[in-house]
């Protein structure tokens, strides 16, 4: 399998070294342990936001470190949760005296490691709250499973909550807002091809040239069903309907529509997806007040897309529009 890498064991470290060089004005990178943090951290008097997860989803999370979004991100090995010592180091580096919010995607490893890190940080006298995102409607939620996966809504929560922290809201307010964003957001994804984890060297799953996986996870975890390839408009319907009926989104709602690339799907195809999504939402009487189209929560080179809808209120819309300056997301400054 062809990859633009040197040694599979050095993929994360070498990428971090590149990020540090490319975005020297915005972020600093610690290599022992791996932490990407705001160049001006700690920002005194501001609630700090820390997220993290396995690498391979770039720009999430490291690309969202900077003014108006995250204060630090902890990159794990590819598709592997980071470790508590990283999260503790990140928490200490960015703590500006107003407490630290951990934004955690709902995967067993991420949750367990962040729980241990929060215990360690509290033992050192740092106030920590954690919010777990779980917006993937492809997974049936139940008391007997690990629950829904955290996917696209995490990007939106990091932007909106980062803006809230930037304008001086308290830890409790920012954490409550994060839970609200998670509650009001739903996602679903699909894949045309597999991804290849560098140290594995072969596709994570086999899929035929005429097949697609509906409900795929961002690590190539199988989804709801394997079906025959269909035109883009039909695929968008397959993703949009379960999302719309789950919240449910209703006539008169105002939403942020986020069309994401899994990494391998080009922007031109994302706009074909967005076109149909906009048509479906309009047909349902739902206003697309804001949108985000592009590769923001990826799965290495997997081809495919995910759709996230977030039901907006005035506060969330204002915070979405607030200035942000990170390597992966920038407007208003």
């Amino acid at each position: 399998m062809k990859k633009l890498i040197n040694d599979p064991e050095n993929v994360v470290r070498e990428a971090l070294e590149g990020i540090a060089l490319a975005h020297v004005d915005q972020v600093k990178v610690a290599l022992e342990p791996f932490v990407i943090y705001r160049a001006d951290a700690p920002v005194q008097g501001k609630v700090a936001l820390v997220s993290g997860g396995g690498s391979g989803h770039e720009p999430m999370h490291g690309g969202f470190v900077g003014y108006g979004m995250l204060d630090a991100a902890c990159p794990g090995a590819v598709f592997t949760s980071p470790t508590p010592d990283q999260m503790l180091e990140a928490t200490k580096l960015v703590n500006g005296g107003q407490g630290v919010l951990h934004i955690v995607k709902n995967y067993t490893g991420d949750v367990l490691n962040f729980e241990m890190a929060a215990d360690l940080a509290r033992a050192e006298g740092i106030e920590v709250e954690a919010v777990v995102t779980n917006d993937d409607v492809a997974v049936q939620d139940s008391l007997w499973t690990a629950g829904r996966r955290g996917v696209g809504v995490t990007v939106l929560a990091e932007k909106i909550c980062g803006a809230a922290a930037q304008e001086g809201r308290s830890l409790k307010e920012v954490a409550d807002l994060c839970r609200k964003v998670n509650d009001k957001g739903r996602s679903m994804g699909m894949a045309l091809t597999s991804c290849v984890v560098p140290h594995v060297g072969k596709p994570t799953f086999d899929i035929g040239d005429d097949e697609m996986e509906i409900g795929i996870g961002i690590h190539g975890e199988p989804g709801r069903r394997r079906v025959k390839l269909a035109p883009a408009d039909e695929i968008v319907e397959m993703l949009a309907e379960p999302i719309l009926s789950d919240l449910p989104f209703k006539q008169g709602d105002s939403v942020l529509a986020f069309v994401n690339s899994m990494g391998g799907t080009p922007l031109i195809e994302l706009y074909i997806v967005y076109r149909k999504l906009h048509e479906i939402l309009t047909k349902h009487g739902i206003t697309v007040a804001r949108n985000l189209v592009g590769p923001y929560i990826t799965s290495l080179e997997m081809a495919g897309t995910s759709i996230t809808l977030l039901k907006l209120d005035d506060d969330m819309t204002k915070l979405w529009d607030a200035p942000v300056k990170t390597p992966g997301l920038r407007w208003g400054m």
Binding site: P33, G54, G76, A77, V78, F79, T80, S81, P82, T83, P84, D85, Y107, T108, G109, L112, N113, E115, M116, V139, Q140, W144, T145, A146, R149, V197, H199, V200, T204, F205, G217, H219, G220, E221, P222
Partner: protein, 209 residues
């Protein structure tokens, strides 16, 4: 017959070797129902452990096991880091300040480790996790020890129980961890965590007797 400190060091070394030998096998098991990282993560963690052992090799068994646990927590990642880290941290509390262990202490050590994993991961028997190998192994170890079996016989029975528990995960539908996202599609595959736990007991059986 007491279990000496050198045997504990040999156990960790033997487990690291088992994980290296089974790295690709564990990756393959994990690729079927998870995210294909278990073998690489456990191997990376225990290779790091091997470099951390020499400086503490003359300390008590508790310190040695605590060093293993802390190293795993900071190097493995995924769910396995906190879970296997907890195994060794809880075992360390039983072995604190000891330079050798009795058979009864060995049973307590594995029992504490099991309780720690259950508390951290909140999994129960039958959820298709490492608990499905760990819990029957500890039960067999205790029963054998209570019945007067030697350390070697008790560990052999524990290993056999772990192996059976591991094999019995194959038909199960996962209810914890990343495999649970697959629902019914997780059935028909052996659990990678139960497999690495079987290897833990297999290594113990070879070195602690």
């Amino acid at each position: 017959m007491a279990i000496e400190k050198q045997q504990v060091l040999d156990w960790i070394t033997a487990y690291a070797a088992e994980l290296k030998a089974n790295r690709d096998y564990l990756i393959q098991l994990d690729a079927a129902i998870g995210d294909a990282d278990h073998g690489a993560n456990m191997d990376r963690g225990f290779q790091a452990v091997l470099t951390k052992l020499p400086p503490v090799a003359d300390k008590d068994i508790g310190t040695i096991l605590k060093t293993v646990g802390m190293t795993l927590i900071s190097t493995v990642g995924g769910a396995s880091g906190p879970l296997y880290g907890t195994v060794f941290l809880q075992a360390a509390t039983v072995a604190a300040a000891k330079d050798s262990l009795t058979e009864a202490e060995l049973v307590s050590l594995f029992d504490a480790a099991l309780k720690g994993v259950v508390a951290r991961g909140k999994a129960e028997l039958g959820d298709k996790t490492m608990i499905d190998a760990f819990a029957p192994a500890v039960a067999a170890l205790r029963a054998a020890a209570d019945g007067g079996a030697s350390v070697g016989d008790a560990l052999a029975q524990a290993t056999a129980a772990a192996e059976q528990g591991m094999q019995a995960t194959t038909p199960l539908v996962a209810r914890k961890g990343r495999a649970s996202y697959l629902g019914e599609r997780s059935a028909g595959h052996q659990d990678p965590g139960a497999t690495s736990t079987y290897l833990l007991f297999k290594s113990a059986s070879k070195t602690l007797a």
